[in-house]
Amino acid sequence: MSHHVTFKDLPQGGEKFEPAKGGKLIGTFGLFGLIGLAASAFFFFKNTDTFAYSWLFAVFFSFTFVAGGCFWILLHSASNSSWGVAVRRIWENMANMVIPLAILASPLLLPAVNRPLYEWMQHHDHAKTLAEHHHTSVKAALHHLVVEGDPDQHLAANPHLHVLVAKFGYMNVNGWYIRFGLYFLILWFIARTLRGKSVKQDQDGDIKHTIKARQFSCIVLLFYALTVTFAAYDWLVGLDYTWFSTMWGVYIFAGCAWSSMAASILIVIWLRSLGYLQKVVTDEHYHLMGKLLFAFTVFWAYISFSQYFLIWYANITEETRFYLTRNTEGWRDVSIFILIGHFVVPFLFLLSQQKKKNTTYISIGCLWILFMHLVDMYWNVIPERGPSLGQGVLVPYAWVQDIAALCAVFGTMGFLYLRGLAKYSLYPWRDPRLIESVNVIN
């Protein structure tokens, strides 16, 4: 065709990113990260209880990007797609941010941090001391607290804890720690393997890496899905141990795919503004990525509404707590804002093809999407803080800590991610289907 790009038109050895060129943005991320880390250290020692929530929010927000990047490379390989080869390295690098994320998430392993977050752990601790005292199992001790209470500490029988006895097989402290490690291990294994194959292909150009990546992806997709689902349960649903929702895993996954796609569009636009990927990425890629963004806008709305709808309609006490908390005082406005800003606005905005292809429009759209995803994550984590710690609906001035934690985690992650782009070529330059991707028309 008239504008057909061939292998000879592209630079040999791919394009290497020079961090100095993007110094402004990288520096900004680094600066925010440093200030955030310093402020976080201060808040951590000052208000460990309330700051634990800030940190969980920031870590989980960053986690969604890693999980999302991982999903896109998995999907791309498993579905044998060729359109996204030109932008695949962006996702590969995003998924490989799992190691810095694991380091930043490690404070959650400290009892001082996870006990204020998860009330069920406090009950388990209590049951554990009882069990040691009476030489029984922790589960039996928990059951004891349900039916008889703890006379030594003047605690009456607490039937509310029965749910903890029923959930004991899954919801126990050791299991939580083991799964915490497993989630990062699985994500790291997936991200590392797929980028490893891709980088090897940069050297030998052998198609067998593409085929191997496809086989690998089809197998690990299931484990990926379980990882994201259960990570979402352990870290967020666990904030209120009485609550349950089978929609939750999918709901979080939809947010992961949505926000990471928005982020990758922004990264591609940024790289192109610095003079990279000029021949490799075209309007068509923006259009394709914009379409996926649109699809996940609808998917997220569908899933989150289904969750709300079933709980609202059935009106069963133990299920409605989650939404009652988020319908209290100011949180009600945030809920309505999410409905409009997370679904209606992006939906109408992304309908038009021209807007998806125009870099100015789509950048604004993607920034809005990242902002809304941030609000969504905030709305999921933070409303539990006040009630759980017995400090009312909103803990005064705790939002300062939330911003500090966000700067610390997301700033550091952004800084490391952008610098890490320099390590390999910006696109898999010897992928046999690169030319197909470069000339894609949809």
Binding site: F305, F309, L351, I441
Partner: protein, 199 residues
Amino acid sequence: MSTTLKRVHGYLAEFDSVKDLYHAAEHVRDAGYQRWDVHSPFPIHGMDDAMGNPRSKLPILVFCGGITGTMVAFTLETITQTNFWSSIGLGFLQKIVETYPTVVQGKPTDIWTLPAFFPVMFELTILFSAFTTLFGLLALIGLPRWNHPLFVSKNFGKFSDDGFFVCIEARDPKFSQEGTKSLLEKAGGKNIELVEDEI
């Protein structure tokens, strides 16, 4: 049947491959023709650009259809199930139909019972969009019709198997017996024939 009147439909040219067809389309587009079309056994990516086709108006129709669906569902549900229309001062609408709220699980009978209506609003949006897509498309491409003049050409039957064709119609203002033929020849067209339609 020498008395049969015939009307020239246009020139039909055959091409060997997608690539040839694509380039031919670009030639015809650049020559400034308006009333012409390409025919291939399968859709060809990028052909719209090669032909210089403007964007279809269908999306706008579908958007309007979808919005209509949402509004219809919203109106039907609120008018029969809630006091919404009376509360905004349009109580007379409420008298058109019987308002008979179905109270389930203590749900309110005002606008805040809206989430219960979302599934229907969603479904009718889809239904109306789908109908507008189908019928709008049929209207825009002029289907259904009994016959097409191109079916006169014996060679044209290949379009549904392995033939790639360009047809420039006689009603195009730039159409001329010699000029159009030579353009198609230059573009690499084979088996060029003047298709004549019986009136």
